[in-house]
């Protein structure tokens, strides 16, 4: 079953880190990603650019409304995700706890809505 691990953190934290800390932080995520791959649970992941690059779009009365900024204004921002294929929620929570993001932010674990006919390994 696929789970999306949504990584929330205070994005200003990254900019406050020294370049050495940033390098080590990136290396920790690289190691985590490699481990997910070797365990055969990795499906995909991405890091997002800061929320000041966000734009929201929706249709109001048939007219598209485009706004600067994020949809939800929160103390911690969505900064990236991992999509994993884990046997159950316990396993997914175990992987979430190992994610470096768990120690500098919060990880929301969401099961992916099953798509009929989608092939699952």
């Amino acid at each position: 079953m696929q789970y999306l691990l949504l990584l929330f953190a205070d994005e200003t934290g990254w900019h406050r880190m020294s370049s050495e800390e940033q390098t080590r932080g990136v290396a920790a995520y690289r190691a985590y990603t490699e481990t997910l791959k070797e365990a055969g649970v990795y499906v995909g992941s991405n890091r997002l650019q800061d929320t000041n690059t966000a734009t929201t779009v929706r249709l109001v009365d048939g007219k598209s409304q485009v706004l600067d900024g994020t949809y939800a204004d929160t103390k911690e921002q969505l900064g990236g995700y991992f999509l994993i294929d884990a046997p159950d929620l316990d396993a997914a929570l175990g992987w979430a706890a190992r994610c470096p993001g768990a120690s500098h932010g919060t990880i929301e674990v969401r099961p992916v809505w099953p798509t009929p006919g989608a092939s699952s390994p």
Partner: protein, 430 residues
């Protein structure tokens, strides 16, 4: 020092004492009621009703002479009334805190035993072979200590909702399958006791594996597990393995402060400042281990404790010969066939016979699927390959160990080790 249970530092001791009384009483009362009603959930409901009644009655009419008997009488009446509202440990938990404070004022010192202690039978019921292995420890923590499902869920890293459901199912199983609240017969004794010990050890290991002191939920679990181990050693003093289990936990607990330096960084055992170890706790453990060995019945937990004792003695004395450790690991492996023991044995072999001998063992262990996501395996593998001069294998193992680490301090420690290799390695190899 943060305060998990008390808001004011001054009242912490009093509060801890009150909590101890409540925990002591809660388990005793629930064990008695559950055995009586043969139904843990119904007993929890009845006890919850009794606590509610006490909170209303005691402030008005004063504390009863024997709070435990008072609670028991009311709970049994509520139980007979057939109160079957589905209350879980959640409802009890808040009451437990309030009762704890009142109870401590009532009794002051220990009150005389008014009914037999059936907690041992409750522990055996929780670790019955018909109960799923993974829920035994949570079930003990809830029934004997009155812990909330959500607290237990955090410690075992599962969702609170799932933990509640599993606890509910386990209690339903006890009721429907008619699991008895008895101390098992002699012929089934060893296996059943092993299950109780394993469940207590599991709660401790869950608390210990996440040594971040800021994480109070897990920190508390260590204390709860120690409480259970102490209780078991108290109830079964003639069983050397119960003493061995408690000794092993105390040896580990004694080193807690030394596992972090002032910057909060992880300090491996070999580099710990032995002055930070809790000498009193180590003495207690030594004493327990001596008492256990006097029975002349060796077992897994005694061997594990003996290994900790040897490690501590070696650090204190500066002994460089590792043969006692290797021999103890040999005995422990013969008994358990555990890959984790084989791994630790390899680390001791590295000290005795050099890293190449250990690397040979590690290579055979890499076949074992049970170690594939076991973080300490990769950390040990990395260190051994690094010592043996195989940088490529060491770097890969560090990568896995870092990726599997939950503890940020451990992650940083491993990253520094990995960086040290990278800085020595010619660029073409890296």
């Amino acid at each position: 020092m943060a305060h998990a249970r008390g808001q004011f530092a001054v009242s912490d001791d009093a509060r801890a004492a009150a909590n101890a009384v409540a925990r002591h009483s809660y388990g005793k009362l629930l064990a008695y009621l559950a055995a009586d009603m043969r139904d843990v959930s119904a007993a929890e409901d009845a006890l919850s009703e009794a606590f509610a009644a006490a909170l209303a009655d005691w402030p008005v009419h004063g504390c009863p002479d024997s709070p435990e008997s008072w609670l028991m009488t009311v709970a049994r009446r509520k139980g007979i009334d057939g109160v079957r509202r589905r209350r879980s440990g959640e409802a009890v938990s808040a009451q437990l805190q309030a009762i704890a404070d009142m109870h401590a004022e009532c009794t002051g010192t220990s009150e005389e035993e008014v009914f037999p202690d059936r907690r041992l039978a409750l522990l055996f019921a929780c670790a019955h072979p018909a109960i799923d292995v993974s829920i035994r420890a949570p079930l003990m923590l809830q029934t004997v200590l009155g812990l909330e499902a959500k607290t237990i869920a955090c410690a075992f890293l599962v969702s609170p909702e799932a933990m509640s459901k599993r606890l509910g199912r386990a209690k339903q199983k006890i009721r429907e399958a008619g699991i008895p609240f008895v101390i098992p017969e002699r012929d089934a004794w060893n296996e059943r006791l092993e299950a109780v010990l394993a469940a207590i050890y599991a709660s401790y290991a869950e608390g210990w594996s996440e040594p971040d002191d800021a994480d109070l939920t897990r920190r508390d679990l260590v204390e709860e597990a120690l409480f259970l181990a102490r209780l078991l050693a108290e109830l079964l003093p003639q069983e050397p393995e119960t003493l061995g289990l408690l000794a092993g936990m105390l040896y580990t607990e004694a080193r807690r402060r030394a596992r972090r330096n002032v910057e909060g960084e992880y300090v491996p055992f070999a580099e710990q400042d032995t002055r930070l170890w809790d000498a009193g706790m180590i003495d207690d453990a030594e004493d327990l281990l001596r008492r256990a060995s006097a029975f002349g019945r060796i077992g897994r937990y005694q061997l594990e404790a003996a290994l900790q004792s040897a490690h501590i003695e070696r650090r204190r004395s500066g002994r460089s010969d590792w043969s006692p450790e290797v021999q103890l690991y040999d005995a422990l492996y013969a008994l358990t066939r555990s890959p984790v023991v084989a791994l630790n044995r390899a680390l001791a072999v590295a000290e005795l016979n050099g890293p190449d001998a250990a690397v040979a063992i590690i290579r055979t262990l890499s076949e074992d699927k049970r170690l594939a996501e076991y973080q300490p395996y990769w950390a040990a593998r990395a260190a051994l390959f690094a010592r043996a001069g195989d940088e490529r294998e060491a770097l890969h193992a560090y990568e896995m160990a870092i990726g599997l680490a939950c503890d940020p301090a451990v992650r940083r420690f491993l990253q520094r080790k990995q960086e040290a290799i990278l800085s020595q390695t010619p660029p073409s190899v890296a």
